[in-house]
Symmetry: C2
Subunit: 336 residues, 2 copies
């Protein structure tokens, strides 16, 4: 049974006026190509270990990070529509092409985290690559809910898969474009196949992923939320990598991921490289992504600086609402 090619599928979703032609034919294919390249580099990473003087992968982690960064930077050189890029490894927005280059009709800014999951990579757990794509020549000082039009999560595990989320806020309401799908790499033909054309998060869940759990030691609200899940016999899964944890929810069709912040256990997730793209993915699957410190939707707050960090509760909508409600009461924000 033949599956629909990715490009054909995306074209069927996007406006027919051709205003997103480069996105479909150049930007998304190049980014997926770089995911395949990073996966391949990671598979080879044993060479680094075996050849090096140290015998733990952790010591060479930086090498793999740098390799991934370089592979992605090289991939986007062939993509005229990506005009600026910044990354978690080099968090400054810089032009991708020389100033003399011709100015493309479509212009996008890329923010990326080349290899997310540093705490688990040495154990050979699944890690990820995160891409956030913005309309225009900067991701900064723009409303994410309007300007961030796509996010891709590369999932580097036993297989190589990716989640693609798209949302075009400027599309006519009669033709809304919002999609979240899974593609899988055929390692022999280097072709990506659509394996889950529509990922959906149900409003309720019986799965939970408590990140930054140290915060619960000093935050009664978080402790009470976690104990509530255990008492109600919710299933625990927590890899400690944002990409595998969120992707597991999407594939399961349910889940709640919590990464609150307290005075002693600060917010850990980078807004530009982690929170915004993950929030877009979750929202495109029908879920919610909220900052539990103020109760605001993640995508309603502009990113002012590439280094900003934030807290997060995301996943199944009703679970997110309940958890955020309790966390806000705990900090007294609710009555403010």
């Amino acid at each position: 049974m033949e599956t629909i090619p990715l490009e054909t599928h995306l074209r069927s979703l996007l406006p027919v006026d051709g205003t997103r032609e480069a996105l479909i034919t150049s930007v998304i294919p190049r980014l997926l190509q770089s995911v395949a390249a990073v996966a391949d580099a990671l598979r080879k990473a044993h060479n680094v270990i075996a050849a090096g003087t140290a015998n733990t992968f952790g010591d060479h982690q930086l090498n793999v990070d740098v390799t991934a960064e370089n592979l992605i930077r090289n991939a986007i050189l062939n993509c005229p529509s990506i005009v600026k890029a910044s990354s978690e490894e080099d968090p400054v927005e810089r032009p991708v092409h020389p100033a003399s280059s011709s100015s493309p009709t479509e212009q996008y800014t890329l923010a990326f985290d080349p290899l997310d999951g540093s705490s688990i990579i040495s154990a050979n757990w699944t890690v990820g690559t995160i891409f956030s794509l913005w309309d225009g020549a900067s991701a900064l000082n723009q409303l994410p809910s309007r300007a961030q039009i796509a996010a891709i999560l590369g999932v580097l595990g036993p297989r190589t898969t990716a989640i693609i989320a798209l949302r075009m806020p400027d599309t006519a309401p009669s033709q809304p474009v919002q999609t979240c799908l899974e593609v899988s790499l055929d390692p022999y033909t280097s072709t990506w196949h659509i394996t889950r054309p529509s990922l959906r998060l149900s409003p309720r869940s019986t799965y939970f992923s408590p990140a930054n759990l140290r915060a619960a030691a000093e935050d009664e609200a978080y402790m009470s939320i976690v104990n509530g899940y255990i008492t109600r016999q919710y299933t625990l899964r927590y890899a400690g990598g944002l990409v595998p944890d969120v992707v597991r929810m999407l594939v399961q069709g349910q889940g709640v991921y919590l990464s609150p912040a307290t005075a002693g256990s600060k917010a850990k997730l980078r807004r530009l490289y982690e929170l915004c793209p993950l929030a877009l993915v979750v929202e495109c699957a029908g879920g919610e992504a909220v900052d539990p410190v103020d109760g605001c939707r993640v995508l309603d707050k502009e990113v002012r600086d590439c280094g900003e960090k934030g807290a997060l509760v995301c996943g199944s909508a009703m679970e997110v609402g309940e958890a955020v409600g309790k966390l806000l009461v705990g900090t007294g924000e609710m009555g403010a």
Copy 2:
């Protein structure tokens, strides 16, 4: 920098009398070869998804399980020293070779779980293959601490790695053989390199992995243990796959993994295919593996039937002791 070949390294550890020659030159290489084959099959599994009528990996999970089972069964056909085998998919000990085959000097029985981690495989999380190797023509009704001489955990993640644990109880005390090491596959040459020659678990830990957490809803002792870890700000990691969870502890050098049993939430782990090999790995790394229902060491109890299940607390020795102590008090076993 050249690393020592695996065969040379193992030979340097084992008795020089040649009584384990087939183990080194045939059994371990064949089993590692089958790990590489399973990893390859899993990478290709997207074909199953893309070509099938269902579009979730879960629906095709059985296919991948069966493929892994067949790959391993085929690999051991070329290994005369493995005289009997049983697996989680086919839990009956059967002869591997025709009755007319010549009788090898070394005789081993293999018990294996071809693909452990069914709950997380669809999300592209790291999963594992488990091998347990016993002296003689059966794994049943033998003392595991004496008869189970090796265990291999294949780790199928972004890379392909494996943990090899060996213990020869019949070796002279002056020359004890007990080792736990990590090897990594070079996917281009199909060679396994030693990447961590000696894995050790420290007696104390600040990491915890609470499996079967539903049991905590009805077991005050388990709930109190988990809340104790959170209060003391231990780091949570829980993949929900026995191989990735235990391997993470080994690579981190610390951790405690708990899978208790209660009346409402029964023991989940199979003694022959999961508990015994994992216990050997953990003990060979200097940790402990205990059944929290009776406080007995996992390897001190014979397996009577291929289908037996049991509970487990394993990892850093002092953490295991404390947790088991609390669970036994909770069930009243302590005073019995």
